[in-house]
Amino acid sequence: MSLSLVTLFLLSIMVFLGGQVLPGNVGRAILGPFADQRAVDALNHTLGVDRPLLTQYATWIWKFVRGDMGTSYIFRSPVAPFVIDALGNSMKLAAVAFVLVVPIGILGGVVAALNLNRPLDRIISLGGLSVTVLPEFVTGIILILIFGVWLRWLPISAAWPKDAGFFTQLYYLILPSLPLFLVLFGYIARMARSGMIEALDSDYTRTAVLKGLPWRTVIWRHVLRNALLPTITVIATQTGYLIGGLVVIETLFRYQGIGSLIFTAARGKDFPMLESGILTIGIVYAVATLIADFLYSVLNPRIRLGSDQ
């Protein structure tokens, strides 16, 4: 948890430097090269960019914490509603990907471990590994071609019609969530597999088998629980990856999520939007890490919150 706070802090510094310091004269950038110098100075003063860096940083963070994310340069309206809307959309997409990948990935890893070194294991391990190394937009394009263009089973854009219900939205989200699914499947299945192998090989499993418990009970009660622990860590650490993946996938599928929001903001040099978008992502990451730590301690009998380890 403390580490993810450091990440968040680093990210805020980078966003601050990238968005407010490095681009140079903000007033000049907004008003253009032909604007009067006095107008530029006045605008810089209004925006507060002529004050010391530390003050600027503190003001920026303080405003952000209070929910004031500034005004978009492009839309000329407050940033916060855009960010909140986009975050909601991204969460839908990420939720679909996670709901699909977590059980299937774990199942894949468990099946692979139970069939260790047999063909089924090879197929799952190698298949998972190969799709994991491919860029999301490459698998995305190939999936669009297969399911959207050739088979015509799924829509190629994630922009659903207005007032679409839950199931229509879900239908539009399947294709965009598949590239994320493929990348995450490899990681989760691999961790579940190695966790499972380790658990199967452990003394407590041998004890459970030797004391005559049925195989099914051994797997459910003893092996699976211990095999899942590293998997949870992976799921948490992949949130960071997932966010990077969202930027690409949302762009590819023209989905109005936080990834495409910061992408559009970056292209349009809409700094308040870009900064708020990225900082929001950082907070989501920190929270996800916290939740994973908590889940880990709940599931792991060796760690309890409040104990000294």
Partner: protein, 292 residues
């Protein structure tokens, strides 16, 4: 590579092949490595000599024949301004195969230096730097790239620096853990007793002995660098037009795939996929050969 064969005096060279030959020998017997190497070399050849055997000029447009499906004249069809997709795919390997290796090289040099420093000195500096690097690793490359490119503008150099610096901490972590093990060995103590400078001990004594893990990490990173370069080009933040780069071609053509013009993107996508998988197979082979 020469560093790998630095023989320890005690080693009996008469019975065994040198360590380098040993590694090469097992690499040549690794089917994974050879398949990967073959794919990579194919694309390297395309990057170097592609223009000479591409049937058309990859940049020459031919509006009358725009969006022609694959045919005998145009094996992979033509794109929206009539450029030959086959020629573009062949020559399109050039930019990604310059940018990605350079980024990996930067990451390796910076990461090795950082890893040696933190691993050798340990203490508070190591604690602080390692923590910061670890926290930095959690930030996706795409986000770092977006920020850097907004602040510095788009250029190949920006892409190289962004990917290089994003990957450096990962290499640093690998090097650091290798150095932590090495620095307890007698030869390091001997160097310290000889009052060698810290610089000499790190870069002349320890570095040659941690080359194998660095080599493995570098080949793995090359795969990710290709991943990252392709992605950034697709996002419009990497290689710029009119380059026939694969990611860039996909980004300028995928808007039309709803119309059924699959050939304008499929071959570029397969090219990226093959190169990434090729590098990963080779990396896997190197990993296997060095960890035997």
């Amino acid at each position: 590579m020469s560093a790998v064969q630095t023989p320890s005096p005690a080693q009996d060279d008469t019975r065994r092949r040198s360590p380098l030959a040993e590694v090469l020998f097992s690499l040549m017997r690794s089917r994974t490595f050879l398949v990967g190497l073959f794919i990579v070399l194919f694309w390297v050849a395309c990057a170097l000599f592609g223009e000479h055997f591409a049937p058309y000029d990859p940049l020459a447009d031919d509006i009358i024949n725009a969006l022609a499906p694959p045919s005998r004249e145009h094996w992979f069809g033509t794109d929206q301004i009539g450029r030959d997709v086959f020629s573009r795919v062949i020559v399109g390997s050039r930019d990604i195969l310059t940018v990605a290796p350079l980024a990996t090289l930067l990451a390796t040099v910076a990461g090795t230096a950082l890893g040696l420093l933190t691993g050798y000195f340990r203490g508070i500096v190591d604690d602080v730097v390692s923590r910061i690097l670890e926290a930095f690793m959690a930030i996706p490359v795409v986000i770092v790239a977006l920020l850097a490119i907004v602040a510095l503008g788009t250029s190949k150099a920006t892409v190289i620096v962004v990917i290089g610096l994003s990957f450096a901490p990962i290499i640093a972590r690998t090097v650091r853990s290798a150095v932590l093990a090495e620095r307890e060995l007698d030869y390091v103590a001997a160097a310290q007793l000889r009052h060698e400078s810290a610089f000499h001990t790190m870069f002349v004594e320890i570095l040659p002995n941690v080359i194998p893990p660095i080599l493995v990490e570098t080949t793995v990173r090359l795969g990710y660098a290709i991943f990252a370069v392709a992605t950034l080009s697709f996002m419009g933040f990497g290689i710029q037009p009119p380059s026939p780069d694969w990611g860039l071609s996909i980004s300028s053509n995928y808007g039309m795939i709803g119309g059924g013009f699959w050939w304008t993107v499929l071959f570029d996508a397969l090219a990226i996929a093959s190169l990434v998988i090729g590098v990963n197979l080779a990396a896997d082979g190197v990993h296997g050969a060095l960890n035997d």
